[in-house]
């Protein structure tokens, strides 16, 4: 078998760069963790309040996932079988909450669901008791706002995969809506729902810092807050390290499970295609679908509208520094995109060339590592050699790219597999390999997905307030940081204006990348 040196290996993507990228990410996290541990004093263990934080973290993530996905089912169903003016726009807007800067979204949610928000004002006007947004349900509400649209998009993909022959068949059989649901939709949901649940669960497990404001008190302590406290107030590096490991293991193992279940995140194209349906024509079904779509749209758009309205009012009061900060944020976002692509593309190429996808876990580690832990760890590493202030932006950019890595891999790997499978032999026969293979075949083939992943990274980086908050240099404030500073200086109106700029930039960079990727890209 000496000559069994399989020729195909020579034609496929060179895995060395991919392995290097994966090792780099792994080193980035583990070195930081190691640095924190090296400075820790021995004897740190988890106290009862830490375990309470672990319990709360898991519980709220589970609840958020279940509520998000089950609310998404009727919305996706209604969207799948109705066509109406503005449907395409609504489906596009479904992508907005997920990339919305958290700090901005919470403002919007408060304007609607807060104590003196629009909902309670309306309830009061008709003499009904008001509702409180604070507490466990507030955390879940915020997470549902972020993730229900994402779940809807995933489920909508599921509906698109139902073969039209099957729909024609049920139309001929004149099945009732309930029978159609059981015969056609339920089997499809059984395939798609577990993955959507797992994805939302992992996101909520790690992105919970967002909802702390709505948590209502120490009951709602999450692991991330415990890490925050250990670093900032107690300076207990040992406890911080232990908590970081707990979070890594918890989120990492959940992510690993999710990986087997999570559906492929597909580029928006195709979702605006409406499949012809012959069922659900009765008046009741129509009214129900209409209500579901209207409610979902309200839930989604009203908080966004509130942010825009408040922001427009605050815009004139915004100091010029905000624009400088916006410039910094844009350059951070753009650099984060570049770093992400340099890491994600070779990794995706490597993973696509393998049968299993276990190495994708390395990407998921980035999502589950605490940015504060990474920031502090690298501070410890850099400090003996150079001034860590000089590296704040670099670390911020690396952390941003790492946060987006798992999503980028989910987006890039499947089409990469397809591209390799389809064009591997043709490329080999033409002698297209190595860098040429990327330039001539892979990059053009994946343009739409690269644009989508880049847009996602840009938007997430734009709104991020992770490492930068602790180690920022006054001259290089980012937009979210400047917004917090404005709030800290009592200038809430100006902060609302900054929030609007932040919203516009986040959605803008996503839109540009996503459209750029699909512009004149052939099918």
């Amino acid at each position: 078998m000496a000559q069994g040196a399989v020729a195909i290996d020579r034609t496929a993507i060179n895995s060395k760069t991919g392995i290097s990228a994966a090792l780099f990410v792994l080193a980035l996290i583990l070195l930081a963790l190691g640095a924190v541990i090296s400075r820790a004093e021995v004897g740190a263990g988890l106290g009862p309040s830490d375990w309470a934080a672990v319990r709360f973290t898991v519980l709220q993530a589970a609840c958020s996932a279940v509520v998000s996905v089950f609310l998404a089912i009727p919305v996706a169903r209604a969207l799948a079988r109705r066509r109406f003016i503005g449907r395409a726009a609504l489906v596009t807007l479904l992508g907005a909450p997920f990339i919305l800067p958290v700090i901005v979204a919470v403002l919007g949610l408060l304007a609607v669901f807060g104590r003196s928000g629009w909902l309670n004002a309306a309830l009061e006007a008709v003499g009904l008791p008001t509702v409180s947004i604070y507490g466990f349900h507030g955390v879940v509400l915020a997470h549902v706002f972020f993730n229900m649209p994402l779940a809807t998009r995933l489920l909508l993909q599921g509906w698109q995969t139902v073969p039209s022959e099957r729909l024609r068949l049920v139309a001929q059989l004149r099945l009732t809506p309930r029978a159609i649901f059981r015969a056609v939709e339920l089997p499809m949901l059984a395939q798609v729902v577990p993955g959507a649940l797992a994805l939302v669960f992992v996101i909520c497990l790690t992105s919970f810092a967002v909802a702390l404001t709505l948590g209502g008190g120490p009951r709602a302590t999450t692991i991330e807050l415990a890490i925050y406290q250990a670093f900032r107030f107690d300076f207990d590096l040992g406890r911080a390290a232990v908590l970081s490991v707990v979070q890594l293991v918890l989120a990492g193992s959940m992510a690993l499970i999710a990986l087997w279940l999570v559906p492929v995140v597909r580029v928006g194209g195709g979702l605006d295609r409406v499949m012809p349906r012959w069922d659900a024509r009765s008046g009741l079904q129509l009214v129900m679908d209409g209500c579901v779509i209207a409610l979902a749209a309200l839930f989604l758009l009203v908080p966004l509208a509130a942010v825009i309205w408040r922001g427009l009012l605050g815009l004139p009061q915004m100091p010029a520094e905000v624009y400088a900060a916006a410039g910094t944020s844009i350059s951070i976002a753009v650099t984060s995109i570049l770093v992400l692509l340099v890491l994600a593309l070779p990794m995706a190429g490597w993973i696509a060339g393998r049968k299993g996808g276990a190495v994708e876990t390395i990407g998921l580690l980035g999502l589950s590592a605490s940015p504060l832990m990474i920031g502090t760890g690298w501070f410890i590493v850099i400090n003996p050699i150079a001034d860590p202030f000089d590296f704040t932006l670099l670390v911020t950019i690396l952390v941003n790219a790492m946060m987006a890595l798992p999503f980028a891999l989910r987006i890039l790997v499947p089409p990469m597999r397809d591209a390799v499978a389809q064009y591997e032999r043709l490329s080999a026969i033409l002698g297209i390999s190595g860098w040429r293979l990327w330039r001539v075949v892979l990059l053009p083939r994946l343009r739409a997905q690269i644009g989508f992943a880049a847009g996602l990274t840009g938007a997430l980086s734009m709104g991020d307030l992770g490492v930068i908050a602790l180690f920022a240099d006054p001259e290089q404030a980012t937009l979210p940081l400047q917004m917090v500073r404005l709030m800290g200086a009592y200038r809430m109106d100006a902060a609302a204006g900054a929030a609007l700029v932040l919203l516009a930039l986040s959605l803008g960079i996503f839109w540009i990348c996503d459209k750029g990727g699909r512009w004149r890209a052939e099918a």
């Binding site: 000559q3 069994g4 080999a428 026969i429």
Partner: protein, 230 residues
């Protein structure tokens, strides 16, 4: 000439032996029942399927382990012969320069090839806008510019209608005639064999039989071939 010496190809449980020589300028048809290994044989010739045993020589040179593009041959597949994101001109140009950086002279060669397959007006078009027959001709134009002494075809026209397929076969025949190359084509249509092949390689029962003159073989097939042809 391409010489196969006691070649053994295995893929899982599948085994196939081959021991024959292909001459330059001849046209060979590969026929045989489904699953007998026709495509695998082409894959092995081209370097996609490794040889489990035996050697392969091109003009005395051992190419048993050479990379696909380092062999004196090119191949047309059943599908995915063109990159949909590249223009017709670029797709053909890849046959000369895998990095797409064509010199003025190479560009002229490509344009000549396009005019020989009657596609001069489509140089800037993307494959997606062309008909199935036109797409096949783009791929053939690339075969022309590659000018390899051996052209392998793995049922590239199976999806075309009978008239169009016959037309394409004629284009192929002219193309290889222009470059003086040998041609090896997998097919399951006996009329294709009569239309284009000088010799037939019959693949059956774990063996790729040595080429036999097409006309004589088709007129008086041995029992196994008769069973296949029905």
């Amino acid at each position: 000439m391409l010489k196969l010496e006691d070649v053994l190809i295995t893929q899982g449980d599948f085994r196939m032996q081959a021991d024959f020589t292909l001459e330059v300028g001849r046209k060979y048809a590969v026929i045989g029942p489904s699953g007998a290994g026709k495509s695998t044989l082409l894959g092995a010739l081209c370097g996609f399927v490794p040889l489990a045993a035996g050697r392969m020589y091109w003009e005395e040179r051992d190419i048993s382990n050479a990379a696909p593009n380092a062999r004196p041959m090119t191949m047309l597949f059943q599908d995915n012969n063109l990159f949909p994101h590249l223009s017709v001109l670029q797709n053909v140009g890849l046959g000369l320069r895998p990095d797409l950086r064509l010199t003025a002279q190479e560009r002229e060669t490509v344009e000549n090839a396009l005019s020989r397959v009657d596609l001069s007006n489509f140089a800037t078009a993307k494959p997606g806008t062309l008909s199935g027959g036109q797409q096949s001709r783009v791929a053939l134009a690339r075969v022309l510019v590659q000018a390899r002494p051996l052209v392998l075809l793995d049922e590239p026209f199976a999806a075309l209608g009978p008239a169009l397929r016959n037309e394409m076969l004629d284009v192929v025949r002219d193309t290889v005639a222009q470059t003086g190359a040998a041609m090896v084509m997998v097919t399951h249509a006996p009329e294709d064999v009569r239309r284009i092949a000088d010799e037939v390689i019959f693949v059956e029962g774990g063996r790729a039989h040595a080429p036999r003159p097409a006309a004589a073989l088709m007129d008086d097939p041995p029992p196994e071939l008769r069973a296949y042809l029905g």
